[in-house]
Symmetry: C2
Subunit: 409 residues, 2 copies
């Protein structure tokens, strides 16, 4: 019996009509002879609504209680989808993350899946039921509910696909797949028919909201084939899988991404001593704050400014931590703002094509866009720029690499 995992995002299950459409899609796939585990997110704005409720009570809800609260969103979705399938005569059973065997670590609101205990899932699937599993949530070793962070349902789906040995993990969303750039900004952005794990991971990490980066990591680890598709059409979408040398080998850059969810933190006048960066960034890492691009600018002898970016959610916590370290180091102070955005190019072919970064900088220069900080890896180049220049930046870079024509180099 062939087995697949499908994941449906919040907009795909936002109301009764859309739920019925999802149920129909599942029913059709089942008639084709597949066993199906479906992972579902909270409906529409449910998660935001729950966060609002919590903030009516307190500015700083305990993270454990936040998870207890947020997990209800997905629980409602799975129950309703099971009802929609039942109504169509399709045997189905809803499962919470805990019932679906999703075991995580202890880090509330940002938990990681440690194991998937598939016993119950397999039993339900073998009884020929569609198993509908609540995304985004799991249970830790003291049986407390945890959540996996925004977009965590993707990771639930990929982890289930790996544990069950599913032949594919279909991620149904409100866009057609992965594009060379955000089509709302670049009208001739092209849908990618395939992309490698490494490229997808960078794209997702650098602002392409279509997949949670952690989901791509897990997929790469276990060789899970992902298909990103629209839940509103039957178009094929984008396949994420291992690189094959033969396919599109002359493509240097696969896409341009941008990310507005960026805050800039500047530590002023840090004495230029060994160990300064270690002290700063290890303190941030200990609190689980991801630091993105980092730069250091020497102002005068022995004194430097340290600039780095974090996600806006982490800004307040980052400043709090950095202020303590800055004082210890004898720095002049800490400043933070959200006037910046990040624009990036991604492509596995970059490593063997020198000059790619220079072409990106040239495209920005032609638009008179100033680059504040640059960060590179083997398969990406990121630039921090002024937030209000980001759309021009994306369009200019997309054109430079002729991504709309499928050139990419």
């Amino acid at each position: 019996m062939r087995l697949i995992v499908q994941k449906y995002g919040g907009t795909s299950v936002a109301n009764a009509e859309r739920l019925a459409a999802v149920a129909e899609r599942i029913a059709r796939k089942r008639q084709e002879g597949f066993r199906i585990a479906a992972v579902v997110s909270a409906r529409g704005d449910m998660t935001d609504e729950l966060i609002r409720l919590a903030h009516e009570i307190t500015d700083r809800p305990p993270r454990r209680e936040m998870d207890m609260l947020l997990a209800t969103g997905e629980q409602i979705s799975v129950a309703l989808l099971a009802m929609a399938l039942d109504r169509m005569g399709v045997p189905a059973i809803s499962l919470t993350g805990a019932q679906g065997g999703i075991r995580t670590d202890q880090i509330h609101t940002k938990a990681r899946i440690r194991a998937v205990e598939t016993e119950r899932l397999r039993r339900e699937l073998e009884a020929d039921k569609v198993a509908i599993v609540a995304g985004f949530q799991g249970i830790n070793e003291v049986e407390d509910i945890t959540t996996l962070g925004r977009g965590g349902s993707d990771t639930t789906a990929v982890a289930l696909a790996a544990a069950l040995g599913a032949e594919v993990c279909e991620i149904f969303t409100d866009v057609d797949g992965v594009y060379t750039a955000d089509p709302r900004i670049v009208p001739d952005a092209r849908l990618l028919s395939r992309i490698s794990y490494a490229e997808m991971l960078e794209m997702a990490s650098l602002g392409a909201a279509v997949l949670q980066p952690r989901a791509v990591e897990v997929a790469a680890q276990h060789g899970v084939r992902i298909e990103v598709r629209s839940s509103f059409s039957h178009n094929p979408g984008t396949v994420v899988e291992d690189e094959e040398e033969s396919v599109e080998q002359d493509i240097v850059v696969v896409g341009v991404t941008h990310d507005q969810n960026v805050a800039r933190v500047i530590v002023l006048d840090v004495p230029d001593q060994p160990g300064v960066a270690y002290k700063l960034f290890s303190a941030l890492a200990e609190e689980g704050i991801n630091v993105d691009v980092i730069a250091q600018t020497n102002k005068s002898v022995g004194v430097t400014d340290v600039i780095f970016s974090v996600s806006r959610d982490d800004r307040a916590a980052a400043v709090e931590i950095v202020e303590v370290v800055a004082q210890e180091l004898g720095a002049a102070g800490v400043r933070a703002d959200e006037s910046v955005a990040k624009v990036s190019i991604v492509g596995a072919g970059m490593v063997s094509n020198p000059g790619v970064a220079a072409r990106m900088f040239g495209a920005l220069a032609r638009e008179e866009i100033n680059i504040q900080v640059i960060s590179t890896s083997e398969i990406k180049v990121s630039c921090l720029i002024e937030a209000d220049q980001v759309e021009r930046a994306v369009r200019s870079i997309h054109e430079e690499f002729r991504l709309g024509e499928g050139a990419g180099g």
Copy 2:
């Protein structure tokens, strides 16, 4: 260390302000040196809202999925109350029914508590935390979520109080306690300072919505002292406990109740043979439908009408079942309507005071209210009457027994 269980109903936690008031009440009790397990219901109209969502999908949601859906209401409440306590600096932890150790049988939407596994609860209480447990829900032996039926949070609270050996189970609600009649109908209805388990059980079963009957049963079995109190005041309320001969021994009738949630089912022209009643009512019992008052009226030789009442929720299911049996028996047909209501008097003293029922019938006769069916037990008399006469009936009976003056006989 003294331990109490408190239960807060849906109106008591309906918004942020009320949640804060509940948190404050808990905090004060804790400062008095009590350990507290608090049981909470779904907020305000949450349960109705979830039922509405389900009915958008299907007329007949599977009961298991209904439980999965409805359980989220209480889960939201416990998380928010834990946040409200945390904000006040009171250590607290929310627990789902499953985490709270509430083990039930398999009957979805009407489950019964089979056991309370208190290990985790005791651990949290011993760590000096307020344990906040989701009411109304539990988990069955295959680890599926079950719910206990409307008002089930009361039963959760009483079962917890029994299992933990709490000195009292305080039920906080939106009224001051148990009255001699519904104060909205009888302005001089009197608040009862105490009532026995047996009387409370009848009152609750016969329409006094202040406590779930099953909760009273469990309290009686385990000798749990219940206090029904208002969450909007600090008034003492009504104590439900074992009868003591010394207290109010000359009270014959403690209260008048009425119940509009009644449907009448009539099986027409049933051949008058042995076993007819058995066939009808065993078929209903098998489907878990509670039949209330029953009457049989001989119309002509060998033919009888069987009349009985069920709750309105059960009307459709009851008619479906009875129609099958009626056909087997050769009856003429089945009719059902909701034009009736039930009015009852309750009092443990009745059994040794003949003539109490006659006084009730007299009070109804003076108002020219026709009695359709009568049902009696040792401590209650119930009459089925026309629905639109119910308020007059309650006032007349309340006056007859001078309940407003505390006479009751």
